[in-house]
């Protein structure tokens, strides 16, 4: 596809998105305040999708592996934290959980990735499928399979903002706001790490070409441990936020399934893509659920993301921000 057509498609997509988002206001006679509530709610849940997607993108960038185990890692991190907090103070539990995630990354590199080096992407993907089930089982064996509530001091009470401006104000969940701030800080830190540090540059180099990266002295094995550890950290943050919202339970790992359409939308190799893709999907599913649900029969939230991803696969398989492949014939 030519660059110009591609750019036009992107502009058209964002135009359509904006139009879709404001159309309840323009055509359906919705009031400003409830509409803002829906938009904010959508963006906040989008942030959480972004966090899980971020873990996927990190690993895909550095090792070309689609990590099916990201959801299991979210659950495992959250489970470890919540059970450790029963025995020790929060900060200590957090430190131990981080250590556990790093150890997990090291083990995955040693036992799974290293023996499979230079294998096809599909082989590595299948391996992560196995890792997912293993981590899942391990977590439940060590930590138990009940539903645990995670209290990390997130404010549970929603706040009403702008009471003076709008009638009744806007109801905002403070938990979501804090989650959004955490996610933003995390993304900023990762962007700095990837763009400005020599380790970040080495990670990008490994993502592009294993052999060449080795030839300039980058040890592949250590890079993989680093990137899986970072993905473990991201999983931990996502696990804390989701866990304190929904409780730490088995279904937590299913959020990874929502992250898949997010990375298809944003592009598998793009960190900003993971963020914006998450926001678009969070926003889109909320708006369509609230305003189209009554007409179309509800449940839109459950399929919206996948239909959007399907459309992208048909017309724009590299996603909004993915790298286009230019092949020399």
């Amino acid at each position: 596809m030519k660059a110009a057509t591609s750019r036009n498609l992107t502009i058209a997509f964002f135009g359509l998105l904006a139009l879709g988002a404001v159309s309840p206001l323009l055509f359906m006679g919705s009031k400003l305040a409830p509409w803002l509530e829906v938009i904010l709610g959508g963006l906040m849940s989008g942030v959480l999708y972004s966090l899980v997607a971020l873990g996927l993108v990190l690993i895909f960038k550095a090792s070309g592996v689609f990590n099916f185990a990201q959801g299991a890692m979210v659950l495992f991190a959250a489970l470890s934290l919540v059970r450790l907090m029963e025995k020790m103070p929060f900060l200590l539990a957090l430190a131990v959980t981080i250590a556990i995630m790093v150890a997990l990354a090291w083990l995955i590199e040693r036992l799974v990735l290293r023996p499979l080096v230079n294998q096809e992407g599909i082989v590595l993907f299948m391996a992560t499928l196995g890792v997912a089930y293993f981590i899942d089982g391990l977590g439940q064996t060590i930590w138990g399979s009940d539903i645990y509530t995670l209290h990390v001091g997130m404010p549970k009470e929603p706040k009403i903002l702008f009471e003076g401006t709008f009638e009744g104000g806007i109801l905002v969940s403070m938990e979501d706001v804090i989650a959004a701030i955490l996610a933003a800080v995390m993304v900023g830190a990762l962007a700095l790490f990837f763009q400005k540090t020599s380790t970040g540059r080495a990670l990008r180099a490994v993502a592009d070409d294993h052999q060449a990266a080795q030839s300039i002295g980058i040890p592949l094995n250590r890079i993989w441990v680093i990137v899986w550890s970072v993905a473990g950290m991201v999983a931990l943050v996502a696990g804390i936020i989701w866990g304190s919202k929904l409780g730490v339970q088995f279904s937590l790992q299913l959020v990874a399934l929502k992250a898949l359409p997010v990375v298809i939308l944003g592009g598998f190799t793009s960190i900003p893509g993971a963020i914006i893709g998450g926001l678009i999907i969070g926003l889109g599913e909320k708006v369509s659920e609230v305003y189209l649900g009554p007409t179309l029969g509800g449940g839109i939230e459950n399929w919206f993301a996948y239909v959007l991803a399907l459309i992208f696969l048909l017309f724009r398989p590299e996603g909004l921000f993915g790298e286009r492949h230019i092949d020399r014939v």
């Binding site: 080495a202 052999q211 300039i216 002295g217």
Partner: protein, 270 residues
């Protein structure tokens, strides 16, 4: 004339001590013998060419030196240290850099970042300081950046410094590949067909760069090349491989007149 162990008689430049020596290196993939009992040495500051027909084992030989392949027999002595096997990143650490026959660049990264990546090993400062660009990390970054800019000037690719290398024409990509290897400040530079697929002008440019690197920095160069004219002009000594065996070793003139080499290239009646 027996060229097998012939000492070079006339060399154009002053050559130093033997820096790299291979003794009886054999490499096989399953039943296919890629290298059989190959021995040769590389002297400091020289341009050493490896030539031979397709499938003679040239790239395999380079990959053995570089640590990509582990030979089943034989030893490699590099700067007084004898070893049989090593990892590619260890080779890089000990001052062996290489370029690739089929380009292996970091396609999504800019020219600048590609060449900077070559200096990854030399960056020592704390990752947090690097991220924030403060204190010693800033100083270090500036110093490395200056080195990289020098290389970019040297290779005459200033105009594309910020371009992702995937978008560059082939000839320029080859230069970036060389630039990345140079950024490592290597003692020994392995070039795998640096001029493959180039037109005459691009080849002339690349020849000039290689000779300049050799002259100015005294870098030892081991190079594989198909273009005979280039090989004869550039190199001090030439190793000829055929079917994984060494069939000749000597100055370009000696090699050119060797019957074994002529047979290997033109075929021989049986």
């Amino acid at each position: 004339m027996n060229l097998h162990d012939a000492e070079p008689q006339t060399v154009s430049r002053k050559l130093g001590e033997v820096v790299l020596r291979l003794d009886g290196v054999s490499l096989a993939f399953g039943g296919v013998k890629a290298l059989a009992d190959v021995s040769f040495d590389v002297r400091e500051h020289e341009v050493r060419a490896i030539i031979g027909p397709n499938g003679a084992g040239k790239s395999s030989l380079l990959n053995v030196i570089n640590g990509v392949y582990q030979p089943q027999a034989g030893t490699i002595t590099y700067r007084g240290e004898t070893r049989t096997a090593m990892e590619p990143h260890h080779a890089a650490r000990s001052g062996i850099a290489r370029t690739f026959q089929s380009l292996a660049l970091f396609k999504g990264m800019s020219v600048l970042d590609n060449i900077l990546a070559g200096r990854t090993l030399m960056m020592k400062s704390n990752v947090f300081l690097q991220a924030l660009r403060i204190g010693p990390a800033l100083k270090e970054e500036v110093a490395h950046r200056r080195q990289v800019e020098d290389i970019i000037d040297f290779l005459e690719i200033q105009h594309v410094r910020k371009t992702p290398v995937g978008r560059l024409p082939y000839g320029l990509q080859k230069r970036v590949d060389l630039g990345r290897a140079l950024a490592m400040e290597p003692k020994v530079l392995l070039l795998d067909e640096p001029m493959a697929g180039m037109n005459v002008e691009e080849k002339q440019d690349m020849c000039r760069f290689i000779l300049d690197v050799n002259d100015e920095f005294g870098t030892t160069i081991v190079l594989i090349e198909h273009d005979m004219g280039v090989v004869m002009d550039l190199s001090d000594r030439v190793v000829v491989l055929d079917y994984g065996r060494k069939i000749a070793d000597g100055t370009p003139d000696e090699v050119r007149s060797s019957q074994a080499v002529i047979d290997a290239y033109l075929g021989v009646k049986h």
